[in-house]
Amino acid sequence: MTQLRAFWASVRPRTRRGALIAVSSIVAGAAVLSIALTVAASMAWSPYVTFDLDRASNPRAWAANELSFAGSTTCAECHAPQAVKLRANPHAGVACESCHGALAEHAASSPAPGSARLALAAATNEDCLRCHTAADAKPATLRTIDPWQHFKPVCLECHDPHTTDATRPPVVRHPLDDLPPCVTCHGPEGFKARNLRHPDATTDDAACLECHAPNRGPARDDD
C-alpha cells in the first residue's frame, strides 16, 4: 500500500494543466484503442472473435447461389417457335419450366441446335391435373375437370398443352343394326350418372368392352 501511494504521489498531476493532460491522454488512448479494434473487426480479424465478422460476405454468398430455373425469357432465346406458340394461347402466362421442370443447367450448357435432344421429362397427367382438377377456391375463370368423370385418362392424347387445342371426343354413333341394349348405357339414373371414363379393365361393362378396347376411346363406325 505504501508503494502504491508512493507511485501515485510520483505520477499524480500537480497542476490543473497536468490533470487536463492526463485526462486527455487517457481519453485519446481509449479512442485509439477502440478505433484499432473496430478497424480490426471490420477487416474480419480480431483477437476476440474467431468467426468472420465481415457482413458483406454473407449477402454475397447468398447472391452467389446457383440458379435452378433459367426463366422463360432464357428459354425463348433458343426455343422461339414454341415460345411464340405458347404466348398466343390461353397458356400464355405459364412458364416453360412450370411443366418442363428446372432447366438452368440445360440453358447454361447452351447445346447447339439439333445437337442433342433434350430429354425432357414428358408432361404427365399430374402436371395438368395439379392446376385443372376441380377444387374449392379455384377461380371461376380456370377451366377445371373432375378426373374421374373426364373422357380419357391421358390428358395429352387429346390436348396440346402449348396451344391448349383439344381433340374433341368423337360423338358415339352406334350403327342401328349393331346397337347394344339401351340399358347398357342408360341405366335408371340416366347416362350422365355413369362413369364417363372408360374402364381400364374388364368389368361388368362387358357389353362396352366387346366393341371398345380400354383407354382407346369409342370405336368408329368403320372399326
Binding site: 485526462v23 477502440s34 426463366g71 391435373l129 392446376c131 377461380p139
Partner: protein, 312 residues
C-alpha cells in the same frame, strides 16, 4: 474450449489449506481506531485526486463508446449497403412483391419450385413458402387448410378439421412467404445478429453466426421461418440454423425474378423494382395492394390483392 482453466500463479502460491474456522474476534487483539488514524491517513488518496481519477476513467469509457458509435460494425439492425457485385447495387432497389389471391389456383408449383431452387428440405414442414386455402362455409365458419404446405396441390374439399361436408360460401387460396418486414421482429430478437436486413430490404440469415436458438422462428408473426434439419441436403452443412425466404436473393441480384414468381402459371405472384418496373408501378397505383395483418405493426413488404385483404 471446454478444457479446465489452469490454476493461476496466485492459486498455486496458496495451497489448498483448510479454511480456518470462523470465530468471534478476540476483543483484546483489536487495535483502537485512534491508533490506526495515521495509517489510514497515510493510505488515503485526496478527494481531488480520487474525483479526478474517476472522471478520467469515465471520460475514457464514454469517449470509447462514442467513437465505437461512429463505426456501425457492431450495430445489427441498421440496413447497410453491402456491396454484392459490380452489377448489383442493393441501395438502389425498391423490391416489391405483390400476391394476387384472386388469381391463385392453388397448384402449389411455387412451393415445389422454391424447394428446387433453394435446396429446401423435401418434407412439407420445412418450407420457405406455402399456400393456404381459406374457406368460409354457409354457416359462417372459417377453415384454413394447407395439406403438405400446398406442394402437391389441393384436394377438392378443405381438409381442415370440421370442414368436411359443409357447403362453401366463399373460398380463396393465399400464397404465403416471408414478408421482408420493414419493422422486422426477427432481426430485433436475434441475440447474435445473425439475421439482418440488406440495403434492398431483403432480410437474410448468416448461417455462420446463427446459433439456432429459434427466437426468430417464434418471433415471426407470419410463421415464415424454420430451423434447417440435419441431413444430407443441409445447405452449407449448417444444420439447426434458421432459414427463410430470401426472395431468391441469388436471382434478383442477377436481374431474374424469384423462382416462385417465375414458375407461377397464372401470375398470382408479381415481383419487381417499384422504382423502375412499370408492371409493379401500375399494380401499386391502380389496384392498391395491402399487407396481410397490418395490425402486427411489422410493415410487411409483401402486398396482397384479392379476397385475402378484401374480406379479412
Amino acid at each position: 474450449m471446454r478444457t479446465p482453466v489452469p490454476a493461476s500463479p496466485a492459486d498455486v502460491a496458496t495451497p489448498a489449506a483448510p479454511r480456518p474456522v470462523e470465530t468471534a474476534p478476540d476483543p483484546a487483539a483489536l487495535v483502537p481506531l485512534a491508533e490506526l488514524a495515521p495509517a489510514i491517513q497515510e493510505a488515503s488518496v485526496s478527494r481531488r485526486a480520487f474525483l479526478g481519477f474517476g472522471l478520467a476513467i469515465t471520460g475514457a469509457l464514454a469517449g470509447a463508446a462514442g467513437i465505437a458509435r461512429l463505426f456501425p460494425v457492431f450495430a445489427d439492425d441498421a440496413p447497410a449497403a453491402y456491396p454484392i457485385s459490380s452489377a448489383y447495387d442493393p441501395s438502389t432497389k425498391q423490391w416489391t412483391f405483390v400476391v394476387d389471391t384472386a388469381a391463385c389456383i392453388g397448384c402449389g408449383l411455387c412451393v415445389v419450385a422454391c424447394k428446387e431452387e433453394n435446396n429446401v428440405p423435401e418434407e412439407a414442414e420445412y418450407t420457405r413458402t406455402w399456400v393456404e386455402r381459406h374457406v368460409t362455409t354457409t354457416d359462417g365458419a372459417q377453415y384454413v387448410d394447407a395439406p403438405d404446405a400446398g406442394m402437391n396441390g389441393f384436394p377438392p374439399e378443405s381438409t381442415a378439421p370440421g370442414a368436411a361436408g359443409k357447403f362453401v360460401e366463399s373460398s380463396f387460396f393465399e400464397p404465403r412467404l416471408c414478408m421482408q418486414c420493414s419493422e422486422s421482429p426477427c432481426t430485433g430478437v436475434c441475440p447474435v445478429g445473425a439475421t439482418y436486413r440488406t440495403a434492398d430490404g431483403v432480410i437474410l440469415v448468416d448461417a455462420r453466426r446463427c446459433i439456432g436458438c429459434g427466437y426468430c422462428v417464434v418471433a415471426c408473426p407470419y410463421g415464415a421461418r424454420y430451423l434447417v434439419p440435419a441431413g444430407p441436403d443441409t445447405p452449407g452443412g449448417y444444420a439447426g440454423v434458421a432459414d427463410k425466404c430470401t426472395w431468391c436473393y441469388h436471382r434478383i441480384s442477377r436481374g431474374q425474378k424469384p423462382a416462385c414468381v417465375e414458375i407461377c402459371p397464372v401470375g398470382a405472384r408479381q415481383f419487381g423494382d417499384a422504382a423502375t418496373d412499370a408492371n409493379i408501378q401500375e399494380l401499386l397505383a391502380t389496384r392498391r395492394p395491402l399487407p396481410l395483418h397490418p395490425e402486427y405493426g411489422t410493415r410487411p413488404r409483401v402486398l396482397y390483392l384479392g379476397p385475402a385483404v378484401e374480406e379479412a
